[in-house]
């Protein structure tokens, strides 16, 4: 039970990061990545709280997928900082 839970949590984490990277808006993308990473880094002991957080994570995943589609439909120019990131890569 504990092992599959851990696998499950890790796969959810990877999926969230993968979807967050697709967000077209610079503000939303950076916030989503940062928030997801910080949320999963917190240590939580109580299994009920863990369950609730996992539910929230699943809802967030669906939300991010929808927002990626909407963002792509209304895409605009990139911000100055994104261009700098691309140059440094």
């Amino acid at each position: 039970m504990a092992a599959s839970s851990r696998e499950h949590v890790l796969s959810l984490y990877r999926l969230l990061l993968k979807e967050s990277k697709k967000l077209p808006s610079y503000n939303y993308r950076t916030y989503a990545l940062r928030r997801v990473q910080d949320a999963f880094r917190e240590t939580v002991e109580d299994p009920k709280v863990v369950e609730e957080l996992l539910n929230r994570a699943r809802d967030s995943l669906a939300l991010i997928q929808r927002q990626v589609c909407i963002g792509k439909m209304f895409a605009i120019q990139k911000t100055v900082v994104e261009q700098e990131e691309k140059k440094s890569d």
Partner: protein
């Protein structure tokens, strides 16, 4: 603004500067004048990169979670929440009441005490302009309030009410003793904003609330900039009226809320009359998608309050330390401790170099020098005047706003550009050279022809 010949003659006669440098002064003045004309609005080109957004006090980007909550009510659940006879109405009403509870939970109030309005300005109208005054005709407010409150007070003065504009100390906070002395037996309302939108100082609202309650005076606070950023409890703070704005907490624009205390009862007169919605205080169909967005924004703000505060504090300290370490003579306005860290106002002491020059030079970063309501005017901000800033400090100050979506890269980029441009503009400025030579600019006697 001095003209070129005047500056040349005066500088030459007063300070013994060579003519070559004086023509430089002429060109600097011309440059500033040209730059003043250049801040006109224009659309961004298709391939042009967007500037970084560092103006979180003016408005905030809408959180994607808020948009996600609002969309079903824009597309499918379009019923009028006041329709009582079919499912469309019932589901809209349920959503509206859920949003009301979310807003009330954020400020520690009862859902029956919140009224949805079209924004903080409308809420303020209820609290100040339409407040039930009866025999008491004295109102107290501060000199650093938001323009809508000051404007309402001005109109009330014309109607025969007496308004006292309390001065603030140099750090932006009000003096509690002075407030206590100003409260008279015929004072009906005290209106003081929680967090100032220009300098970011946080007033001692709890103490003010207790003071007003002890003197039986109603207390209104404009919490548009404070809601969702600092913990608020209207019962602890003894607040009777509070204005909330949606678009300052990553919610939709065009919606806000008003908190009206029920025990002890606060009576206000309705601005809009009609079908009796919102307890008869604000008739008109409640815009379900917008209030659902406001409710979602409030719930998210409550969950993320600590996390956001931590991130914003770190970024704000980073910004201020980097700028102050590279550029000498930079002053941060407002109290260093009693403040919300995300709103920073720096006076760059550029001497004869107005904020428009720096803002024009920093065209890759979206900044402002004052509140959006007063940005059309070229006069320096009245808030800075109220905290006693010198004329030249007031003219050369910039406001940085940091919020939930600001990243480290944003701050680093802004700081780098700011330092670069300030150094460049200062090198061009003849008055900066004079300051470096040790001449006190205040000792120069400028005369007029």
């Amino acid at each position: 603004m001095m003209n070129g010949t005047l500056s040349r003659k005066l500088l030459g006669s007063m300070c013994g500067i060579s003519s070559r440098r004086l023509s430089f002064a002429q060109s600097a003045v011309n440059a500033v004048q040209k730059q003043k004309e250049l801040i006109k609005s224009r659309e961004l080109e298709k391939d042009e990169l967007r500037p970084l957004y560092m103006d979180f006090q003016a408005t905030t980007p809408m959180d994607p979670r808020v948009l996600d909550a609002m969309l079903p009510y824009q597309v499918n659940y379009y019923g009028n929440p006041h329709s009582r006879t079919h499912a469309y109405g019932w589901e809209s009403e349920t959503a509206m009441e859920k949003a009301r509870k979310q807003v009330a939970d954020l400020i520690g109030a009862d859902p029956r005490e919140t009224v949805f309005t079209s924004g903080a300005t409308e809420s303020q109208q209820y609290c100040v302009a339409r407040f039930y005054k009866a025999k008491k005709t004295h109102i107290i407010t501060t000199q650093t309030e938001h323009k809508c409150v000051l404007d309402s007070c001005r109109i009330l003065e014309a109607e025969g009410f007496e308004v006292t504009y309390l001065p603030v100390k140099n750090n932006g906070l009000i003096d509690l003793k002075q407030l206590q002395e100003t409260i008279r037996p015929d004072t009906s309302l005290v209106s003081i904003m929680t967090v100032n939108n220009e300098i970011g100082v946080k007033q001692p609202i709890k103490e003010i609330g207790h003071l007003c309650r002890s003197k039986n005076v109603f207390f209104h606070t404009d919490a548009a900039q404070a809601v969702g950023k600092i913990p608020i409890n209207v019962n602890d703070w003894k607040v009777d009226l509070m204005s909330i704005s949606g678009h300052k907490i990553s919610g939709p624009k065009g919606v806000g809320a008003l908190y009206v205390r029920r025990r002890p009862r606060v009576r206000i007169e309705p601005l809009q009359n009609g079908g009796g919605q919102e307890r008869g205080l604000r008739s008109g169909t409640v815009p379900t998608p917008l209030v659902v967005g406001l409710g979602a924004a409030c719930e998210i703000a409550q969950q993320e309050l600590e996390y956001d505060h931590k991130c914003v504090t770190v970024l704000a300290n980073r910004l201020v330390q980097k700028i102050v370490s590279e550029i000498p003579d930079v002053v941060k306005n407002g109290d260093p401790d009693q403040r919300y860290p995300g709103k920073i106002r720096l006076s760059n002491c550029l001497f004869f170099l107005k904020w428009e020059s720096l803002l024009m030079a920093l065209k890759d970063v979206a900044l402002s020098s004052g509140s959006a309501c007063t940005s059309a005017s070229l006069e320096p901000s009245y808030v800075l005047r109220a905290i006693g800033a010198d004329e030249d400090l007031a003219h050369s100050s910039i406001r940085f706003g940091i919020g939930r979506f600001t990243t480290e890269e944003d701050v680093d980029y802004t700081v780098e550009k700011c330092i670069q441009q300030v150094k460049r503009l200062r090198e061009m400025s003849p008055l900066w050279e004079m300051v470096q030579e040790g001449i006190d600019l205040k000792s120069i006697k400028w005369t007029q022809h």
